[in-house]
Structure formats: structure tokens, C-alpha cells
Amino acid sequence: MSAPYIQIDRVAQTFRTKRGNFPALRDISLTVQQGEFVTLIGHSGCGKSTLLNLIAGLTRPTEGVLLCAGREIAGPGPERAVVFQNHSLLPWLTCFENVYLAVERVFSERENRAALRERTQAALALVGLTHAAAKRPGEISGGMKQRVGIARALSMEPQVLLMDEPFGALDALTRAKLQDELLDIVASTRATVVMVTHDVDEAVLLSDRIVMMTNGPAATIGEVLSVDLPRPRDRVALADEPRYQATRKAVIDFLYTRQGHVEKAA
């Protein structure tokens, strides 16, 4: 439970643009334990997604090293599944086929077709979408699409689940429902999760630790806050919990008091 799983060591990321180099991240060092739920929070443009892409292996850092299970992250891999901000389902495939594509890639060498189909069905059942298996993404709601995206990521039985503002585009009620589902799923699969968010309540409700980032350019980790709340967590009961409120206050204080001048700085 407490083995360091993802290690980020003095990572910096600089993008080359037409107007010269743009330093997005500097001096990022962070260790994520196995089974831990970590959220990255910060104002928009602070490089949260950039950091997540680095862990996913979609981009390479300009400086520093990222390790996953002791090995350097050299590219994307199925052990680090990504749930994208805009679901990124393939519109010409049904929900079933979208998930099956991932299942097939990871398990087809070891399992026969019936087992692969079973895995796909199980992943869709996990997010409560068995009935929508034959539908195309264009025929289902935004919340359902995001759930298919989560099912696709979970179906690969990843060691790490990387989520880039997965519920950002959803309405508040759907978001709360999916957060609760995610809590249950994570409790049962004991996956390591790194999630990008800009929602304070979401961060406090879901995380073991909240990584708060300073404003860009050249953003870095401002503070790491442990969320000392027992699991399973219930959003209604937590509303009156003093420790919840204290944690929430600490995050808000960081975001709006100490890092609040995002417009003036930019």
C-alpha cells in the first residue's frame, strides 16, 4: 500500500512556440504511493494537464525524470490508463466497441474472444451502462460518454488511472453521481489515481492528498495537503464534518488568497 509507485523527480517542461520558449512547469517533484488517490488542483493554465500528460507518457519532459514502478516513463502504456477531459470516444464505434478496443489490446494474447467480450460487458456494467452497449457516442448524454471513457480505462485493469478533469464538462448533479461511482470503483479496485481538477469539493471528497499548483508560467507545486478523512466517504455526512471544512478552507485559501492574482499576473 505504501510503496512509491510514481516518482517525479525535478521535472521541467518548456514548450517551444513561435514567440520563443514557454516554460510551463519547473522543478516538479512528487511521489505517488500505490493505491493512493492524488488530485492536482490549480488555476487554469497552471500546467496541471501538462503534468498529467507527462505521467501518461504522451509528452516527454525537457528536464528531470518520471518513474513508474521503478522504470522510466518513455511513452504511453496500458498500465497507465487515461480518462480524457472530453471523453475521446471514437464516434464510429459503439460504446461496446470502444471499450472492446482497449480490452482486446491488453488481454487478447492471453484470453479468447468470449472472455474479452465478458470483460467488456463487465466494464460497462461497472459504470451502469449495460443498456447502452450498442449505442454510438452520438446517441448518449455527456455523462454517459464520460462513463464509457472511464469504463474503457478501467477495462484495461491499469495500475494507474490518470484522469484529466473527467467531470469538468458535466452538470453538478451528474458530476456528484459520477464522483460517488468513482469512489466505489476505486475502493473495490484499489487503483492508484492521479486526477486533474479545478473543483475544490471534488478534490477534498476524493483525494488522499491534494497537490496545489502555483500559477503559470513556470508553475510548480505550491503545497501538498493530506486529506485526513476516513473512507468510505459520504458527501452528505462530510458537509458537517469540521475536518472536511478545514481542508476545504485550506485549499480555497491557497487558490484564492495566495494564488488569486492570476489575471493580474497574466
Binding site: 501518461a56 504522451l58 511513452g75 504511453p76 502504456g77 496500458p78 497507465r80 490508463a81 487515461v82 480524457f84 477531459q85 472530453n86 471523453h87 475521446s88 470516444l89 471514437l90 464516434p91 464510429w92 464505434l93 478496443l101 482497449a102 489490446r105 454510438r136 457516442p137 452520438g138 455527456g142 460518454k145 484495461m156 464538462a169
Partner: protein, 313 residues
């Protein structure tokens, strides 16, 4: 982007009136009380509605095209006069058309065949030339879109050759293939290959990064990336290229056949001109237009079957 967007030719005219007509609440009584509202009913419900609404539908949707055609015939009659100027009157042309279409598939020697055979020969040339162009152009478009090196290598060539009238290639075709028919097909090949290369390449370059990220995260094989992501994502662009190519090919075949002879609608136009049979030429113009329209409609229909919503949330 402009060349890669679908436009159904009828869309613009059909969508304007429907967009301006929200469904009227209330029954026929409301409509009768407010005559202005009768014009604002959706045309889909026209069949089962009172005569007043049907008249409204006719007024908005049925009448304008008829007026347009009527105007054409009136202008034509004015120009033709009594037919003495050489341009036949609409009636004379109509009578001649009945005669021609009474037996469109007669055969009286190699240079005297029915209009049906002529159209079919032209379509066959277009199909062959276009098919060969698709075989070469689509894979080439994929390669150019996928690899920057190839894109830089071929772009100057394409930019140089694309503006050239395909008919300028006809003598080269005659020289190389030693025959009129293959030379005409070669001309069609040349004119239809550019839109297919360019649209396919643009389509490949425009595949959303999100889809490619999915492919990278899932670590899909090159074959899966092609069949599950690249090809479906490019298909709408590709079909736009096909539509432009077929449209151009149908324009060019008439001119090519005028030069090469043989059986074909273009040759038929030229032959009838040599016979000073102007009514036949007018009929040929209408036939060429109708066939072009049908090709266009069929390809738009085909394209709409393969168009999916974009990934953007």
C-alpha cells in the same frame, strides 16, 4: 477547410424556409384565425393538413422552383423567336426530345447510336478513369498526410500541375496510349486525382489529436490505428474528394470526347452540331445536367452515411 465540407446542393434552398417556420401551437382554428400563421407551419406535416396549409406549403416550397423553370423557358422562347434564328423553340425541342427518348438505345453503326448508349459510354470512361485515380490518389493522399517528408516532396508538384486544364494532357495520352479511348480515360484520371489526393491528405492531417492520443494510450498496432481510427476519421474528407473528383470528371469528359470522338455524350454534342441539329444539343445539355445532378446527390447521400459527430464535448 472549404473544400472539405459537405454541401448538399438542395440544402441551402430547403433549410431556409423550414428554419423560419417554427411549429404553430394550437389547432386549425388558430391557423384560420391568423392567416399569417398558415405560412409558418412545418412542411413535414403538409400531407394531412387542411387545404390552407397545403397551399402555404406549395407557396413556400413548390412554387419557387417551378417559377425558376418557367422563367428559363420564357427567356428561351424570347431568344428563339419563331425558330428562324437557328435556336429551336421549346416546343420544337420537346417534340424532338420525345422522338429521341422513344428509342434511346438504338444502334445504327459505330457513329450513330442512341443517347442512352452515349451517356453510358461517357459514364464508363468516367468510372474507369476515376477508379484508377482513386486507386492511386487515395493511398498517395494517406501517405502525404501521414509523412511530412512526402508532403514537402509532392506539394510543389501538385501545386504546379493541379491548375493545368486536364485537356492539356490529352495529346500526351494520345501519344502514350495510341488510342482515343484510353486518352480520354487518361484525361479523366488526371483531373480526378488531385481532389482525392488533396482531400485525403488534409483529412489525415486533421485527424483530431484526441483520437491519436487514444491510440497511443491504448498502444494500438499500426493496423488497428489505420482501420479503427485513421480510416474512419478520414472517410468524410475522402468522400468529399471523391465527390469533387466525380463532378470535375463529368465536366471534363464532355470536352474530352468532343476532341477524341467515338461514342459518348460529348461526341454526340459535337456530331449533332456538325449536323446542325441544335435541338439535340439542348437536349444533351439537359441530360448532362441531370446525370451530373444524380451523381452529386448519390455521393452526398453516401457521404452522409459515414459522417459522425466530432469528439469535442
Amino acid at each position: 477547410m472549404v473544400s472539405a465540407v459537405f454541401h448538399a446542393p438542395l440544402d441551402a434552398s430547403a433549410s431556409a424556409p423550414t428554419a423560419a417556420s417554427p411549429p404553430t401551437p394550437g389547432g386549425p382554428a388558430t391557423v384560420a384565425a391568423a392567416p399569417a400563421a398558415a405560412r409558418a407551419t412545418p412542411d413535414t406535416a403538409a400531407t394531412a393538413l387542411p387545404w390552407r396549409e397545403r397551399a402555404g406549403w406549395f407557396w413556400r416550397v413548390g412554387l419557387p422552383p417551378l417559377l425558376g423553370l418557367g422563367l428559363l423557358v420564357v427567356v428561351w422562347s424570347l431568344i428563339a423567336g419563331n425558330g428562324a434564328s437557328g435556336i429551336p423553340t421549346p416546343q420544337a425541342t420537346w417534340v424532338h426530345a420525345l422522338d429521341i427518348f422513344a428509342d434511346p438505345f438504338y444502334q445504327a453503326g459505330p457513329n450513330d447510336q442512341g443517347v442512352g448508349w452515349n451517356v453510358l459510354s461517357s459514364l464508363q470512361r468516367v468510372a474507369t478513369g476515376f477508379g484508377l485515380a482513386a486507386l492511386v490518389g487515395i493511398p498517395l493522399g494517406f501517405a502525404i498526410g501521414r509523412f511530412d517528408f512526402l508532403s514537402r516532396m509532392f506539394n510543389p508538384l501538385i501545386s504546379l500541375l493541379r491548375p493545368v486544364s486536364p485537356l492539356a494532357w490529352l495529346p500526351i495520352g494520345l501519344l502514350v496510349f495510341k488510342g482515343a479511348n484510353p486518352a480520354a480515360i487518361w484525361t479523366i484520371f488526371i483531373c480526378s486525382i488531385w481532389p482525392m489526393i488533396i482531400n485525403t491528405a488534409v483529412g489525415v492531417q486533421r485527424v483530431p489529436q484526441d483520437y491519436l492520443n487514444v491510440a497511443r494510450v491504448l498502444n494500438l498496432s499500426e493496423w488497428k490505428v489505420f482501420t479503427r481510427i485513421l480510416f474512419p476519421a478520414v472517410l468524410p474528407y475522402l468522400l468529399t474528394g471523391v465527390r469533387l473528383a466525380v463532378g470535375t470528371a463529368w465536366l471534363v469528359i464532355v470536352a474530352a470526347e468532343m476532341l477524341t470522338g467515338g461514342v459518348g455524350i460529348g461526341f454526340w454534342v459535337w456530331d449533332e452540331w456538325n449536323n446542325l441539329n441544335v435541338a439535340s444539343i439542348i437536349i444533351a445539355i439537359v441530360v448532362i445536367g441531370l446525370v451530373g445532378l444524380l451523381l452529386e446527390l448519390a455521393l452526398v447521400k453516401l457521404a452522409s452515411l459515414f459522417t459522425y459527430e466530432e469528439v469535442k464535448a
